[in-house]
Amino acid sequence: MTPTLTLFLTISAALFSIGLLAALSRRHAIFILIGIEMMLAAANLNFVAFWRFSPQPQPPIGVMVAIFSIAIAAAEAAVGLALVIAIYRHYRTTNVDQLDQLQG
């Protein structure tokens, strides 16, 4: 039994929901960022899996989108982590429950 496309999509769906779990159920800002990066990686896996199982278009679109997505994810992680550091400097906490000054 060779792995079919359904199996790859199931794995990436599982990874996406684990990332969602990390992003939703944690209170520390960095955990949430870890969850977001995992969701992005799951989406990349989806793109490459679809590219592999399709009759080959030229140019290889799935692989290209995955490469650009990795680059953008790195940029977004850098800016997100810089924000976390800036917030920590000001409020002395990284618990997102306590960042509620704009609320209400």
Partner: protein, 160 residues
């Protein structure tokens, strides 16, 4: 594409991912996050996109994981205390997973075996990047420069 390799890599990816989502100490979670990305890179190798796998190891483990551990170091006061867990998130995550699986199994024509494709060489990716995808390449360069400058400005200490 062998089944044994697929199962091993799937376990290698999903177990650290679950650990990263649920471990109480932040450093352990960050390191299992790096391990999960090794597993995802192995998936990319299995799917025949070696360049993407190598870029994944390079960018995510060599850069993003190091950034995350540096940030954990610099925001140290909260790292020692374990984090509170919110069980509502688990329910939503399981619901989303269920929805995705339902969508996957409802779509006809997805249970196909991998077709024979020609190997994707780095030379081909380079050609495509420079001819069809040159605009996105320049835009990504611009985005990365903006992110670099923005991150530096955000963490620069203000001169008194």
């Amino acid at each position: 594409m062998s089944t044994a390799a697929f199962i091993v890599i799937a376990i290698l990816t999903l177990a650290p991912a679950l650990a990263a989502a649920s471990l109480p100490k932040l450093i352990h979670a960050a390191l299992s996050f790096a391990l999960a990305f090794v597993g995802i890179a192995a998936f990319f190798f299995l799917l025949g996109a070696e360049f993407v796998g190598l870029v994944q190891i390079f960018v995510y483990i060599g850069a993003v994981a190091v950034l995350i551990v540096f940030t954990i170091l610099l925001t140290r006061r909260d790292a020692a205390t374990p984090d509170k867990f919110n069980w509502g998130g688990v329910v939503i995550a399981i619901a989303v997973f269920g929805g995705l699986i339902w969508a996957i199994f409802l779509t006809p024509g997805l249970s196909i075996a991998p077709p024979q494709i020609e190997a994707l060489t780095v030379k081909r990716i380079g050609e495509v990047l420079m001819t069809d995808y040159v605009w996105p390449l320049q835009c990504v360069g611009l985005v990365l420069t903006a992110a670099l400058i923005g991150a530096l400005i955000l963490v620069m200490e203000e001169k008194p």
